[in-house]
Symmetry: none
Subunit: 534 residues, 2 copies
């Protein structure tokens, strides 16, 4: 039986982005999203990924089915569910049985530790609740599962009826739970309770203890660290703090604190340097903009404003930075200064002319064009290929591959669900030769994309190999309603390289057109250059 | 001399939104903004408002001039500046003198406690730095000011050279400082230091101690509370956590924790109930959207999404809320979602039929339709009006307000930047009467929106009052490139009510159409009903 070997008394990270995080406002993961996030968490090196409740959600069950084919390295998937209902047998309880369908080695079961919840919400007797906990854990253990027991409302329960709260843990321990997780479900426990109760429970039962905090009082990270100081070894949270209300404990902050501030290991050696990148990946997949001010991983976490701080940090970074930004894979930025822009532009210019100096007028010109475009809403951080084209256009290292005669798009309501909704016609010219082509599509951009491809491929067969792998739309000034500015980011591949392009306009078709044209031109430029070199 | 009487050994709040908060990215206060924020902070009842550095900023000096006419009740304004430069006399130092121009009773002076900063950044001798601190405080006290001393980098300094860090505080105390504020300027001090050093400093000097934390490790609120537990009485922060990098300690979280969790008083009795409103006022003036998930005051701080939680909170709010939302002037909300389940649907159904029971087949049907739609990518938690229409359609409480004959959209590349890019034509029928209208727009959706409005308004004049206030687009399966599914969320208002609608399709035009139609229908339905009732 795999999983049996896991040592719960070693400090480890347990991520619940896919389960508790999915409760967060604005979050709605597709099965594909969940697979992508699981891969990122595995790359970071968390030990457990709580991935959903197969009993309450068909999509979660589908995820577990597909996820079996993920080749995860460090992470183990965990199915989550509740104790059996009252007056049933665990073996007959539909929700408990559905946990078996997830086919994971590890299962997390939550049960009630607060007497008030048992009698007022569950409407069960206190004895029955203890039996529900013990039976459920016992049944799952008998089915070969390793059971992590989540003591819901443990801190509130202990405050009102400590004997009963402890009895509920006793029931889980007796049932064979491998870990007792103390949950501050309502997020309002006093700071001093996290450490004291963690050490109390550990000494009372000798079973490894976990901690699960919510951020209702802004203390979730602190509470988690205090629990670890007191002996808790499973630290639960969601990578970016996603979760109901004010969110769960931010696991990226906790991991960085444990590893870099306390010198403790909770993910494999060396992985902490990928923290920022993986946090941004998870934010991107979740389509939740990562808070610029998020500790450790936000884009402003190491941003300095002009003046004294920049002066000091330039003299000695330790003077104004609590850790080196690169230790979490983040970087130092200078706000309100051209220093950051210039460094990036210089680095790019040197690909074309290694001798370009820091004070070159060309660098200054490109920086100023870039700043202008960024004011318009362009963002080159995620659009490397468009940035390269921008640089080339400003240093005379660019030639267009085709001219646009016109494009026209007709869109209408679909007659039936399967008929096309949009039709595009396009005329382009390449070295004097003109060509008109047309395509239909699911929507106007899809049709335009098809028509442009069809026109280009007869001149540049390499276009046939270009595939769009990602298409993102962000409304920049959503308050302007349907006249708002939209930014389109496109990721493309030819099977070897991956590149990203950007377009901005008040017209989605126009933004998409810009990003599409950049994508094709970037690839064709590569071809043209390798031909010259070859 | 006013201000002399202030008792620094009583617990009190010190807000630096207007000074340290102004360092935050994206923040730029006008003098009017600062006056508005000062009024809000005074209404909340903080004791000190640090309002700027008159020596480094002409706008700050202007603020102090104008602010004299503010009739603040509890709050005292504080001017902020640094110790004198090396090799000058405090009385001759331009920055120190400018503090006098602010004409406040209270002045905050920051000086260096970290030997490394003195020798490496300031390039002064350790002795000279101590003299700079003592002289400056002494001079300002001799000018009748009450001086709050900010020990910059105190925690880092103490960790490396405790004797020197303490000597710097001794210099401030000897100079006559009324309060010694321990600053974790780089935001990376270990959690355990906040309490231990606060009590050490308090016992060493007998001068009241303050705490000033930054949130670089996500521990600023916790650190502040631990310092208060250990005897610090001045708790510094910025109301919404504004500040450089990851921000300053969030003072709204600190105040709510102190008042409601620890039973301590740091603002006048009764004021805590205005916390949410005043936080939103400050966010509004600052033009920074208040984080939905901000502890205590965010719009989702008491939002419930999981079905079970909603069920429990309905039975007894204490079961799932750590404090009553109204204690901080916030309110409970229920978010719609696939997990929210039956309770939410029931609550909605009961608006139409109060007798609907928990096991009603209609509730089951609506839940199942909702789950289906959510699998397709619809998300009702941010689209209340679409949800209401969905419910109505499934219980026969819906009638369409118009029929669509067709719409056709033509889009093309703009001939010049100002010419329209899209043209829409639409035919609708209302009770047998047909009407065709057309419009042009920045993009296809903008044109379609215009044409539909124009067609509807002749039948339903109320449509003229509907404005779109928010338009959001999310690509759901961005990996499908331009054929990806897109979800559109629209927020509309008629100047009184605000409502939200959703549409999902592989065609952005179609998704937008769905959300638009829902928006108009929802509003017309309201009209029709009030007419029936009236």
């Amino acid at each position: 039986m795999a999983g049996k070997g896991f040592d719960f008394s070693r400090l480890h990270a347990f991520d619940s982005t896919l389960r508790d995080g999915a409760q967060g406002e604005g979050i709605s993961f597709s099965v594909q999203d969940k697979l992508g996030i699981a891969r990122a968490l595995d790359e970071l090196g968390v030990d457990f990924i709580e991935a959903g409740n197969p009993g309450s959600n068909a999509k979660d069950l589908e995820f577990f089915r597909v996820a079996k084919h993920l080749r995860l390295n460090t992470a183990k998937l965990v199915a989550f569910g509740s104790t059996r209902r009252k007056e049933t047998r665990a073996a007959d309880d539909a929700n408990v049985r559905s946990l078996l369908l997830a086919d994971t080695d590890f299962v997390a079961i939550f049960g009630k530790s607060w007497d008030f919840h048992v009698t007022e919400i569950l409407k069960a007797s206190l004895e029955e609740n203890l039996a529900m906990i013990r039976d459920t854990v016992e049944f799952l253990v008998s089915e070969g599962k390793t059971v992590i027991y989540d003591a819901e409302h443990f801190f509130d329960g202990y405050a009102e009826n400590p004997e009963y709260a402890m009895a509920s843990l006793r029931a889980a321990a007796d049932g064979g739970a491998s870990s007792l997780v103390l949950c501050d479900t309502n997020g309002g426990a006093p700071l001093e309770a996290f450490g004291s109760l963690s050490s109390l429970v550990l000494s009372e039962f000798g079973v490894p203890v976990g901690i699960h905090c919510h951020n209702d009082t802004g203390l979730a990270v602190a509470g988690s660290l205090l629990a670890v100081d007191a002996g808790a070894t499973q630290v639960q949270g969601t990578l970016l703090g996603f979760g109901e209300r004010t969110g769960n404990a931010n696991l990226s902050s906790i991991i960085a604190n444990l590893e870099l501030k306390r010198g403790l290991r909770c993910i494999p050696e060396g992985r902490i340097a990928s923290l920022t990148r993986l946090c941004r990946t998870v934010a991107e997949i979740s389509n939740i903009p990562l808070d610029d001010g998020m500790p450790f991983v936000g884009s402003h976490a190491f941003a300095h404003k002009a003046g004294m701080h920049i002066d000091a940090v330039t003299k000695n970074s330790r003077s104004c930075e609590h850790i080196p930004p690169e230790s979490v894979g983040n970087e130092r930025t200078f706000l309100m200064s051209e220093v950051a822009g210039r460094t990036m532009v210089l680095e790019r210019l040197r690909r074309f002319d290694p001798a370009v100096g820091k004070d070159s007028p060309i660098a200054a010109k490109v920086v100023s064009v870039m700043k202008e475009r960024e004011l318009e809403g362009f963002q080159y951080e995620g659009a490397d290929a468009s940035f390269e084209l921008l640089v080339r256009k400003n240093i005379g290292k660019y030639r267009p591959f085709f001219g646009l005669g016109y494009f026209k798009i007709i869109a209408e309501q679909a007659r039936d669900p399967d008929s096309p909704r949009a039709f595009a016609q396009i005329k382009i010219s390449v070295e004097g030769e003109e060509h008109i082509s047309a395509a239909e599509g699911d929507g106007p951009v899809h049709a335009l994309d098809g028509a442009l491809r069809d026109a280009l491929v007869r001149f540049y067969p390499a276009v046939a190999r270009i595939r769009l792998t990602d298409y993102k739309v962000r409304v920049l000034d959503s308050g302007s309603g349907t006249a708002a500015k939209v930014r389109v980011l496109i990721e493309s591949t030819d099977g070897e390289e991956i590149w990203s392009t950007v377009g901005v306009s008040t017209d989605l078709i126009e933004s998409s057109w810009m990003a599409l044209v950049d994508s094709f031109e970037y690839r064709l430029l590569r071809d043209a250059e390798s031909r010259v070199i070859g």
